[in-house]
Amino acid sequence: MNTKPTMKARERDAIVAALRAGVVPRLGLQHIQVGRQREVASLISDIDRIAGGGSTCRFVIGEFGAGKTFFLFLVRQIALQRKLVVMQADLGPDRRIHATGGQARGLFAELTRGAATRTMPEGNALRSIVETFIQQTEEAASGRPIEEAIKARLADVREMVGGYDFANVVAAYARGYEAGDAGLQDAALRWLRGEYATRTDARAELGVRAIIDDATFYDGLRLHARLARLAGFGGLLVCLDELVNLYKLQSVQARKQNYEQILRILNDSLQGTTEGIGFVLGGTPEFLLDTRRGLYSYEALQSRLAANSFATGGLVDLSGPVIRLQNLSPEELYHLLERVRSVFAGGDSDRHLVPDEALQAFMEHCRSKIGDAYFRTPRSSVRAFADLLAVIEQNPGTADWRELLGSVDVSAETAIDSDGTSMADAGDSDGADDELATFRL
């Protein structure tokens, strides 16, 4: 255990805080990553394919708390290391892939705002991408007017759907860049992020006729991918999480239209008609499998996404578009707890807060409390363990893990309530025997 490099205090604090809140840390994922090597390997091959100008589309499917988000963040980190631009966002009631009320544009804006590169892993990298592109063009322009040079370099972009205006906007940014016109630059960035709601405004400020709207979500991303490659990046990786929100849409029509867009993305990537763009979509099993409202309700998607019928009984096929996150084995979970302990100790094995036998005892405790489900959904177990360690750390000498273990409460994972408004609290004062609290149809 002591072979690992000592981690930075900043990383340690970020990881501890994230684990205790039950969310995925943005930093230092490698310190707590265990298992799932084959899944990671297949995603790495995807990333290589994108960097080589290809296209991919993967569905990461797992239960609530199974580590989908963790997995997506891991992939994101790797992609950034390999010089890809990464855009990541969660779907929600007001962020979808297809919509008519601005929700798709909302998702687009969220994605582009969070555009990250290796040097800017926190996001907001769009400006630097565009400027990198302009600087490169400028250097290669050798005296030609910058706008002309840019238009020349974007010649093939102009041929793409919606590319004409896209190229014009990039050229407008260059114009503003040259002239030191911050207003024009901001307007161009706003356009590129899909923040214009009406054509009239875009026309007045940038002189273009079209905007990125609900209907051009995917086309807009393809243009960004192309721009990223022209700017010298490997390509664009788009990570969309919480796709279960599409499953929860209450209108058949809306679900179908979203699935149509997913089909389009999937077809393009399977046929290799797009360049330098990859999608990783995270969702729960019912989002995939439900034949009434999930992806499988859409015939064309079902046939493309159906599991390999030979991959049963422990055999896996990770070359298909769907990656089922396999359960962590008890050994892997033990390993994970070790990692968490190590994080608390800042990587220094002499400062471990609890001995190895405490890890065993903790797992035993979890199993007796919620059964085998605990290692299928690491989130709640890890959170409880982090809480335990935090108490021991802050009460050195007085807190004994043996005594504390009995009072650790681990709850089975449940879906996050989307009706978390004041409405949800209205009836909470009632007893636990309330029939509706555990209502099942």
Binding site: T284, T414, A415, M423, D434, F439
Partner: protein, 777 residues
């Protein structure tokens, strides 16, 4: 014609009084509101405004009641617009109104005031353009005037985005509050207001109700704030409003002749024409209608579809033969939507005089708010419906509300049913008018379950939230909202039944949230999903494979009952709620009492009033000459039949029970008698029991009065349950029985009803000869 103003003409607009007395309330208003008042040239505020302004400014729920055109709207909006503070985003005042036409009308009245106070005014209903709505939605502010159905549409379509629209809401105004009392639409509105409060994240948003003056204002208070009526402050304006003119006109139809009903069933309205096919009473009514209504814009409520067609056709023909342009247009549920809208548009926007001839059932669907006069054939169904009908006329200051009721009664003849001699149609019309003038109004059934509307609201809430847990849904709809009689166990049963439908309405996500099932998606995507009120489907009456006609069935009809249809007596064999068919066979009998096609349950209070009229002696001035003589005859018959003392009359081979109770109690009694091996038929005001004599029926009634009667559940299952409310069809038999017990029967009253019938007959010894009244010379 002898019209009787029920109020003296005191309607001088904005009567001038000394200015000082008004300084109180006037001084409380904001500067712009005061300037607006002065610009109107008002020299004083009216009484209702004086009282309402301080009450509303103080905050909390308030019901403001006054007569039509007494300035209620300003009484609410002057203080509300004074009160609206700050620049919080979102609508500040939402005003819910039952009719689009009223909204348009109010928008004209309030526009200046709102503008003077610096707040935009938005109209929001089905006829407002999508772009105007979008503008209001994107920049929500000021006042929005809206129908309940459009409010539902906003919540459904905007979902989570509705929160910013309502987050800054300061008050909700409910216009025409009395129109919502005790109706499904009222329950819907209450539920909507709760949902708006929930989405705005507030416990309470002040509600201001504008109501007609009712005898029991607590009803309005309860309707405004279900479950906490006593906290609502009542403000009653004493201004004279517009004059109300009411007249009841009587028409005598000459003696009927029994005829082959099937052959004549395609003929005139609910009528038995004479042998030459003519019906003098009908013709007289048509001629008077034409004379009175022509040249102005009116509404004529004619009852069933068949009646509507017959009257519209006769009036049109009369116009044609007189060589004048046609002004009469039919309006009922079988006509296409386009045609109905054309009629409505003509009444609303066309300067040419026109009269819509409408069914009772589509009453809420006619969006016409301001006509010169209202006419009605027959007594109508309820006091509140009569009040609403009357309220459609005389809305402008200085005009009067006019209502004429045309009642056709049969001439007394040797073959007539003795009960027909009581002229119950006329008496009921008078009772309804008296109740209305006395400010009485039907209270909603206590502890009504309203499961149909709850089904609707559950689906709506799912769409609005995009999925909600059962517990949270219960907390909003039943815990906070109007469905207080539904406990958790029953709500769970309702959800299960919604899930177990052939095409499930709801399903559940793995996390436990309720979501729309395939059936629910279909319902929720329909254009008629926003409304809970519905045109009752008419049932086909079928004998031996031949359809005799259609009948709106909104009352309990039992197999084994006899019913009167197209002038003949039938026995009901089967009621098929799915196919909406009533199978009948002819049954031999003496001349049946006339079937009263008008719909809706009668309340005990109205029936008691009828008895008071029959036993009283005064003659109201609102009756015309014929009606007066009818009333006299009816009172004579009442005494002659001995109904002052007895409640059992032998007729032909059976008996008639007249307990003088409302429809629910009457239906309960009939259901009990069916369960106890009698053959009763519940009519509108009495129960007829075939093949039975006084002694036997008294024995049965004594058993009931002693408590020996079938259980609630047995009564309810003996009753076929027609789907009356919009989503009744989705309820399981168990839940439907619960609805029947709680809303349509009144089992608790059974013993008392039976005792009443027995008690009023105690003058007679058990073996005494009952009143023979089958024939008269």
């Amino acid at each position: 014609m002898p019209e009787t103003p029920t109020e003296p003409m005191t309607n001088s607009p904005r009567s001038v009084s000394d200015r000082t007395s008004s300084v109180g309330a006037f001084g409380l208003l904001s500067e712009p509101a005061r300037r607006w008042v002065e610009r109107q040239g008002w020299t004083s505020l009216r009484d209702v405004q004086e009282r309402a302004i301080p009450a509303i400014l103080a905050g909390g729920d308030v019901v403001v009641s006054a007569r039509t055109a007494a300035g209620k709207t300003e009484a609410a909006f002057l203080p509300l617009l004074t009160k609206v503070e700050g620049d919080a985003a979102g609508f500040r005042i939402v005003c819910v109104s039952p009719l689009k036409a009223l909204i348009n009308d109010q928008a004209n009245r309030l526009e200046g005031l709102a503008e003077a106070c610096g707040h935009p005014l938005h109209r929001w209903h089905g006829d407002v353009s999508a772009s105007a709505k979008r503008r209001a939605r994107e920049n929500p502010s000021g006042v929005v005037l809206i129908t309940p159905e459009s409010l539902e549409a906003i919540l459904l379509r905007q979902g989570v985005h509705a929160r910013p629209l309502f987050a800054g809401l300061q008050a909700v105004v409910v216009d025409e509050l009395h129109a919502f009392i005790g109706t499904e639409r009222g329950i819907h509105l209450q539920s909507l207001l709760t949902r708006v409060e929930a989405i705005a994240g507030r416990d309470r948003i002040d509600r201001i109700g504008l109501s007609a003056t009712l005898g029991d204002m607590a009803l309005a208070a309860d309707c405004l704030r279900p479950g906490d009526g006593p906290s609502v402050r009542l403000v009653e304006g004493r201004d004279a409003g517009n004059v109300v003119k009411v007249q009841i006109r009587g028409y005598v139809r000459p003696t009927r002749v029994p005829e082959d009903a099937i052959a004549s069933s395609r003929h005139a309205p609910g009528a038995s024409p004479r042998e030459d096919g003519s019906d003098p009473a009908f013709e007289a009514v048509v001629s008077d209608l034409g004379r009175i209504l022509r040249g102005r814009t009116n509404l004529l409520f004619a009852g069933s579809r068949r009646n509507v067609e017959a009257y519209a056709d006769a009036l049109t023909t009369a116009c044609g033969s007189a060589g004048v342009p046609n002004e009469f247009f039919a309006h009922h549920g079988n006509l296409s939507r386009a045609h109905r809208e054309e009629v409505e548009t003509r009444l609303r926007d066309d300067p040419r005089p026109s009269t819509a001839v409408a069914t009772t059932t589509l009453e809420l669907g006619i969006d016409i708010g301001d006509v010169a006069a209202v006419a009605q054939i027959g007594p109508g169904s309820s006091v509140s419906s009569l009040r609403q009908r009357l309220g459609r006329s005389g809305r402008r200051p200085g005009t009067s509300a006019e209502l004429r009721i045309f009642v056709i009664e049969d001439e007394d003849g040797p073959a007539a049913h003795p009960i027909d001699r009581l002229k119950l149609g006329l008496i009921q019309s008078m009772a309804t008018v008296d109740c209305m003038l006395g400010g009485w109004c039907e209270p909603p059934p206590a502890a009504g379950l309203h499961l149909s509307t709850l089904v609707h609201q559950t689906l709506a809430l799912i769409v609005q939230t995009g999925g909600i847990s059962a517990k949270a849904a219960w907390a909003i709809l039943c815990g906070r909202g109007p469905f207080r009689s539904v406990d958790r166990v029953r709500y769970a049963a309702l959800l299960r039944c919604m899930h177990e439908a052939r095409s499930p309405l709801v399903e559940q996500a793995p996390g436990g949230q309720l979501m729309l099932g395939p059936g629910g998606e279909r319902l929720a995507s329909g254009h008629d999903f926003y409304a809970v009120f519905v045109t009752p489907e008419e049932y086909r009456v079928v004998h031996g494979g031949q359809t005799l006609g259609t009948l709106p069935l909104d009352r309990i009809t039992l197999p084994g009952q006899t019913m009167i249809f197209v002038g003949r007596r039938w026995r009901v064999l089967e009621v098929d709620a799915d196919a909406r068919v009533i199978l009948v066979e002819p049954t031999s009998a003496a001349m049946p009492p006339r079937f009263d096609g008008s719909a809706g349950p009668l309340h005990d209070h109205v029936v008691a009033e009828m008895r008071r009229i029959l036993s009283g002696g005064d003659v109201p001035t609102y009756l015309d000459q014929t009606a007066r003589s009818m009333l006299e005859g009816a009172r004579h018959a009442y005494r002659e039949l001995g109904l002052e003392a007895a409640s059992v009359v032998e007729v032909g081979t059976g008996v008639v029970l007249v307990p003088w109770v409302g429809t629910r109690k009457l239906d309960t009694l009939a259901a009990a008698l069916v369960a106890m091996q009698h053959k009763p038929a519940a009519r509108r005001h009495f129960v007829e029991v075939d093949g039975c004599d006084t002694v036997r029926i008294r024995r049965t009634l004594a058993r009931i009065a002693g408590g020996d009667h079938p259980s609630d559940a047995a009564l309810a299952s003996a009753v076929p349950s027609p789907a009356i409310a919009k989503y009744d069809g989705w309820l399981s038999p168990d839940l439907m029985r619960a609805v029947v017990i709680s809303e349509r029967l009144e089992t608790a009253s059974l013993r008392e009803t039976a005792s009443r019938v027995l008690a009023s007959g105690t003058d007679h010894e058990p073996g005494d000869t009952p009143h023979r009244a089958g024939t008269e010379t």
